[in-house]
C-alpha cells in the first residue's frame, strides 16, 4: 500500500511562490533602464547583457514555473479539501 504524507498548506504556499516567481521573471526588463547608473560603457553594456540576454531560458522558465505553480495550487487545494472532508466525517461519525 502506498504511503502518503502531505502538508497541504506547504504545497499551496509553494504554488504561490512558484507563480510569484514566474510573474517576477516574466516582468523582468532588459536592464537598459538601469545602465545609466554605471556611468556608461563597458559595465553598462555588461549589465544589460547579464540581465537581458538569457531571454530564451527565462521565457521557458516562466512557462514551467507557472504550470508547476498551478499544479501545486490545484493539488494543495484538493489535499486541503480532502483533509477537511475527512476530518468532518471522523468528527461527525459520517460515512467512512
Amino acid at each position: 500500500m502506498t504511503r502518503i504524507r502531505v502538508d497541504a498548506d506547504e504545497i499551496v504556499t509553494l504554488g504561490h511562490q512558484l507563480i510569484a516567481l514566474a510573474d517576477a521573471l516574466s516582468a523582468a526588463g532588459d536592464g537598459s533602464v538601469d545602465r545609466w547608473a554605471f556611468g556608461g560603457d563597458p559595465s553598462g553594456d555588461a549589465f544589460e547583457e547579464l540581465v537581458g540576454q538569457w531571454r530564451l531560458h527565462r521565457l521557458r522558465l516562466v512557462a514551467s514555473l507557472a504550470d508547476l505553480g498551478e499544479a501545486a495550487l490545484t493539488a494543495g487545494g484538493v489535499y486541503v479539501d480532502t483533509e477537511s472532508a475527512l476530518a468532518g466525517r471522523l468528527l461527525t461519525g459520517g460515512p467512512q
Binding site: W36, G39, A46, F47, Q53, L59, L61
Partner: protein, 405 residues
C-alpha cells in the same frame, strides 16, 4: 590651464539599489530552491509529490544558475559602487579646488593689471607678491587637474573590472545562443522600421514595408526554431500590418449605394448592410488588384497619364512670360488639389452621411492613416474609362455584391 572639469559619471546610490535588488532576487530564488528540496523530505511524500518533484528537477537546475547570476552580480556591482563613490568624491574635490584656483588666477590677473596701471610694475614688492600668489594658484589648478585625471582613470578601471566580472558571470549555460540573439534583434529592429510606415512619405513607407517583412521573418523563425510566440500572434501581427488595406475597404464600403449626379447632388440608390458593404468594397479592391495585371488596362492607364498631362503642358506653353506660366501652374495645381480632396474625402463623407455609415467611413480613414491620405493630395491624373471594358468597375462591384434590402 584647461577649461572646466566634469564630474565622474554614474550613481553609486543607484548601483547599491541595483545590487540590493539583485541580491534579493537571488535570495528569493535560493529560498524557493530550499522549499523545493523540502518536498522530498516529507512535505509531499506521495506518488504525486514524487512526480511533481521530478518535474521540478530541470527547473531547479536553471533556478540555481539564475540565483548564482544575481548573487554574484550583486557582489560585483557593490564593489564597483564603492570604487565609483570614492573616485567621484576625489574628482569632486579636485573639481572644486580647480574652480577656486581658476577664480584666484583671474582675480590676481586683474590685481596685477591694476598695479601695472598704478606704476607698480615688475620688480615692485606688491607686484611680485601678487605674481607669486598667482603662480601658487596656477600650481593648485594644475594639481587639481592631475587629481581629477587620476580619479577619472580609477573610475574607468573599476568600470572595466566590473564589466569583465559581469561578462564572466553572464557566460553560462542559460545565456542566449547567438542565432537566437540575432533573430530577436532582427525582430526588434524590423518592428521599429515597420513603425516608420506611419510617416506619410514614400521612402518611409518603403522602409516600413521592408521592416515588416524582416520582423515577420524573424518572428516566424523564432516560432519555428525556438518555439517562441504563437501562430495566432503572428497572424494578428499580419492582420495589423494589413490595416491600411482594411481602412480602404471600410472607407469605400461606407459610400456604396449613393451616386453623385452631374449637378453634384447625391442620391441614395441602394441600401446595404454593414457586412455587404465590407464584402462589396473588398471585391472592388480585389478586382482593381487583378485589373492592374491586365495589359490592356495597364496600357490605357499609361495613355491616360500622357493624355491628361499633355493638354496642361500645351496650355501653359501657350501663355505669356515665365511668371504668368508659373501662376497658371500654381492655379492648376490648386484646382487639382481641391478636386482631389473633393473626390477622395468630401464625396465619401457625403455618401457616408446619406448611408448613415459615417462611423464606418471614419474608421476607414483612421485605419488608412495620414500616410494613405496625405500623399493623394498631390494630384494624380484621373484615368479615363478603360477602352474595351464592358462596364465601369463600380457597376461591376454593385452587381457582384448584389442588392439586399
Amino acid at each position: 590651464m584647461s577649461g572646466l572639469l566634469w564630474p565622474v559619471e554614474g550613481s553609486p546610490d543607484a548601483l547599491e539599489l541595483i545590487a540590493a535588488g539583485c541580491q534579493e532576487a537571488g535570495s528569493q530564488i535560493s529560498d524557493l530552491l530550499v522549499a523545493i528540496q523540502g518536498l522530498r523530505t516529507g512535505v509531499w511524500d506521495s506518488p504525486a509529490g514524487e512526480a511533481f518533484a521530478a518535474s521540478l528537477g530541470e527547473v531547479s537546475a536553471i533556478l540555481q544558475r539564475v540565483a548564482m547570476r544575481y548573487g554574484d552580480a550583486a557582489g560585483a556591482i557593490d564593489t564597483y559602487a564603492a570604487a565609483l563613490r570614492l573616485a567621484q568624491a576625489r574628482a569632486q574635490a579636485a573639481l572644486e579646488s580647480h574652480r577656486d584656483a581658476e577664480e584666484q588666477v583671474l582675480s590676481l590677473e586683474d590685481e596685477l593689471w591694476q598695479l601695472s596701471c598704478a606704476g607698480e610694475g615688475a620688480g615692485t614688492t606688491a607686484y611680485e607678491s601678487a605674481l607669486g600668489r598667482q603662480r601658487q594658484a596656477v600650481g593648485q589648478s594644475l594639481a587639481a587637474e592631475g587629481d581629477h585625471t587620476r580619479a577619472a582613470q580609477d573610475a574607468d578601471e573599476a568600470n572595466e573590472v566590473c564589466a569583465a566580472t559581469l561578462r564572466r558571470i553572464a557566460d553560462d549555460v542559460i545565456a542566449d545562443p547567438v542565432p537566437y540573439r540575432v533573430l530577436h534583434t532582427l525582430s526588434q529592429v524590423g518592428a521599429t522600421m515597420a513603425s516608420l510606415a506611419l510617416i506619410p512619405h514614400p521612402a518611409t513607407r518603403a522602409v516600413g514595408a521592408v521592416g515588416g517583412l524582416v520582423a515577420t521573418g524573424a518572428d516566424v523563425s523564432l516560432r519555428l526554431f525556438y518555439d517562441e510566440g504563437s501562430w495566432g500572434d503572428l497572424l494578428l501581427a499580419a492582420f495589423f500590418t494589413g490595416l491600411g488595406t482594411s481602412g480602404k475597404v471600410l472607407k469605400a464600403g461606407s459610400g456604396l449605394g449613393v451616386e453623385k449626379g452631374a449637378d453634384k447632388t447625391f442620391t441614395l440608390t441602394r441600401t446595404y448592410t454593414t457586412g455587404e458593404r465590407v464584402r462589396a468594397a473588398s471585391a472592388q479592391r480585389w478586382r482593381g488588384y487583378l485589373d492592374s495585371f491586365d495589359p490592356r488596362t495597364a496600357r490605357s492607364g499609361a495613355a491616360a497619364t500622357v493624355s491628361a498631362t499633355t493638354p496642361a503642358t500645351a496650355t501653359v506653353a501657350g501663355g505669356g512670360g515665365l511668371g504668368a506660366r508659373l501662376g497658371q501652374l500654381r492655379q492648376r495645381a490648386a484646382d487639382a488639389v481641391r478636386n482631389q480632396v473633393d473626390k477622395h474625402f468630401l464625396d465619401g463623407l457625403r455618401k457616408a452621411k446619406i448611408n448613415d455609415t459615417t462611423t464606418m467611413f471614419a474608421a476607414g480613414i483612421t485605419l488608412q492613416g495620414t500616410s494613405k491620405v496625405a500623399p493623394r493630395l498631390v494630384p494624380d491624373p484621373a484615368p479615363p474609362p478603360p477602352q474595351g471594358s464592358p462596364r465601369p468597375a463600380r457597376e461591376a462591384v454593385s452587381t457582384a455584391a448584389g442588392p439586399t434590402p
